[in-house]
């Protein structure tokens, strides 16, 4: 029989995080035996680019699409069409609106992440202090949700004050400039929280260049391979991320279950995802994979060559 073709659609090609997810997907494919992974995505992080990719995938009549989306709403019509043509659609990492997918796999639960990013900063500021947020684009779905969740728990971190939120658009130079701007505007800044792998690296570089290592702690979500230098220089004391390999692996497993084993995605359902256990869906057909994992000087060397 022909291979089962599962398309892993990412926000943009060439981002380390997604490359790692692809590794996980390949691992799942090997485990399942008859699966071919089509790893694809636009070359820049736009919804229009993803729609063209989706159209091409629909045309190829792939069996399943697992997508990390650039836009919650804009992809819905295209993905709906995919489902009408009998293609299984799930989203992972960065979700699409419920009507555009069968289920959504969160890397972790949003409240956990929201709490984690502020906790990472607060842990190093026992006496409180000023922190600023350096996010991705203004339209990034998950960053916005995490920041919202973070705001909900702010009360538990007395003395920590969020002084500003800026956007680096997931561009290294813009993030760098925004980080530099933050340090100039708020000379007493104690930490920069960047819940994005591009922003956190740029912010760490900006802190090093401004000679503020030790004064400003950069934390947030990043990849060990990219953050190894920042941990070493001390610009970042710790950061968190979930394991993208596991994420790609789980997404592939879920897509396979839905498309080949007749599993229905419905609230409350428990869907197996190989070595990662099972995903429990909530009322929105969403589920969380695992807790984010914290990296610091003690463990970074074990992970920096993996992803």
């Amino acid at each position: 029989a022909d291979d089962v073709r599962i398309a892993l659609v990412v926000k943009a090609l060439g981002i380390g995080f997604f490359e790692a997810a692809n590794e996980g997907a390949q691992e799942a494919a090997k485990e399942l035996g008859n699966v071919e992974i089509i790893y694809t995505g636009p070359t820049d992080t736009t919804a229009e680019g993803q729609i063209e990719v989706i159209n091409a995938l629909i045309a190829q009549q792939v069996d399943a699409i697992a997508i990390s989306s650039n836009d919650t709403d804009a992809l819905v019509p295209a993905l709906k069409r995919a489902m009408q043509r009998g293609i299984t659609v799930i989203s992972w990492d960065s979700g699409v609106a419920p009507e555009g997918r069968q289920l959504h796999l969160n890397p972790s639960s949003n409240p956990l992440i929201g709490n984690m990013i502020i906790k990472l900063a607060a842990d190093h500021l026992p006496d409180g202090g000023e922190v600023a947020l350096l996010s991705a684009t203004t339209t990034s779905t998950n960053q916005n949700i995490w920041m919202e969740e973070m705001n909900k728990v702010m009360g538990e971190y007395a003395g920590i004050e969020v002084v500003a939120t800026v956007y680096g658009d997931d561009l290294a130079d813009k993030s760098y400039r925004e980080a530099t701007g933050l340090m100039q505007t708020y000379p007493d800044l104690d930490a920069i929280i960047a819940p994005t792998s591009v922003g956190i690296v740029a912010a760490a570089q900006a802190v090093v260049d401004a000679g503020k290592v030790g004064q400003v702690n950069v934390t947030g979500l990043g990849l060990p391979s990219e953050m190894a230098g920042a941990i070493e220089s001390g610009a970042s004391k710790s950061f968190a991320i979930w394991n993208p390999i596991d994420l790609g692996y789980s997404a592939t497993m879920l897509a396979y279950e839905l498309s080949q084993n007749g599993v229905k995605a419905a609230p409350g359902a428990e869907i197996p995802m190989g070595r990662m256990g099972a995903l429990t869906l909530d009322d929105n057909n969403e589920g969380a994979m695992a807790d984010p994992f914290v990296y610091d000087a003690s463990n970074i060397d074990d992970f920096k060559s993996i992803f």
Binding site: D44, A164, Y167, L171, R177, G181, Q184, S225
Partner: protein, 326 residues
């Protein structure tokens, strides 16, 4: 009657000064010398590229491929650095300049030998260069920890209080200043843009001059490519995406006429600095960064409208009575 050129620059300079003082009135820290040095350093790549673009625009061409050239060179030298971490920086610099110049030469040759309009050529090479970055890098990033400390350290090494990046920009300004004002090639560039037909009669090869303009712009883009990647310590496909328009905007704001032949080094530099200040001031004065795009757009419109006004109506005056009142 038509000595407007210094006036135009004086006005732009005044605008920059006013802007700076306005920001400083709310945030005195902005005009601290260290911060101004920072702003200048931040603007250095734009200044360097604007000078290259200026030369191209003066010859009645336009180079939309500078940002893609920058990104490709940046990626290439980053990958070279990863592969051969021991390669000394002068060698890297040479490679960057030569690579950039080579890409500029491709543009130049298509314009010179095949007479394809520059906007078409560079629109094409812009996408081709970006595509090639994707091909050679496989879309992957080169991250700071993969680069050698010497590689990332060079542009930020501080000499006499300023980082090398700033010094490179200053040096470029001086070299171009002398070249445009006091050398045969500089004058040829003005001549070719001012009146290509007459240039031929004067023994200046129009196509060849345009070719060299593209080479110069390419070489500067290559140089900036290395500096950019080293400064931000990261290389990926999309770096400096859309930067070509910012470069053109800097030239336009600086009074470089898109029709060729008119413009000065000072204008291009001031245009770049103006944009640099706007960009750096917005986060400081707490205007949402979302305003930046609209502000630079308006600046361009005001600048061209103003430049056109001052250049307008230098027709002859026939009436003796009118001449007296001039």
């Amino acid at each position: 009657m038509k000595r407007y050129i210094p006036l135009r620059e004086a006005i732009l300079g005044a605008a920059i000064l006013t802007l700076t003082l306005l920001v400083a009135s709310r945030f005195p820290g902005f005009i601290a010398p260290s911060n101004l040095a920072n702003v200048f350093n931040d603007t250095a790549p734009l200044i360097i590229l604007a000078l290259g673009q200026m030369v191209v625009i003066l010859t009645r061409c336009i180079d939309l491929s500078v940002a893609a050239n920058l990104a490709l060179t940046g990626m290439a030298v980053a990958m070279i650095n990863v592969a051969l971490p021991g390669l000394p920086i002068p060698v890297i610099l040479t490679i960057a300049v030569l690579m950039g110049a080579f890409m500029g030469a491709i543009n130049g040759l298509l314009v010179w030998k095949l007479s394809i309009p520059p906007i078409v050529v560079t629109l094409g090479t812009m996408t081709i260069f970006r595509g090639i970055i994707f091909l050679i890098s496989d879309g992957k990033w080169v991250n700071s920890h993969e680069m050698s400390p010497a590689f990332t350290g060079f542009p930020r090494t501080v000499l006499l209080g300023l980082p090398v990046l700033s010094w490179v920009a200053i040096l470029t300004v001086i070299v171009f200043g002398i070249m445009m004002a006091r050398t045969q090639s500089g004058r040829s560039i003005f001549a070719v843009g001012g009146n290509p037909h007459a240039a031929v009669y004067t023994g200046i090869d129009v196509g060849k001059t345009q070719f060299w303009a593209f080479v110069a712009s390419g070489a500067l883009a290559g140089l900036t490519g290395y500096l950019w990647v080293a400064r931000y310590a990261v290389a990926y496909v999309d770096i400096a995406g859309g930067f070509e328009l910012e470069v053109v905007a800097a030239c336009v704001i600086g009074g470089i006429s898109i029709a060729g032949g008119i413009g000065t080094v000072g204008g291009a530099v001031l245009g770049a600095i103006f944009l640099g200040i706007v960009k750096n001031a917005l986060p400081v004065v707490d205007i949402s960064p979302f305003w930046q795009l609209a502000i630079s757009g308006s600046a361009i419109l005001i600048a061209v409208a103003f430049n056109a006004r001052s250049g307008r109506n230098k027709g002859r005056v026939i009436l003796k009575s009118a001449e007296a009142t001039q």
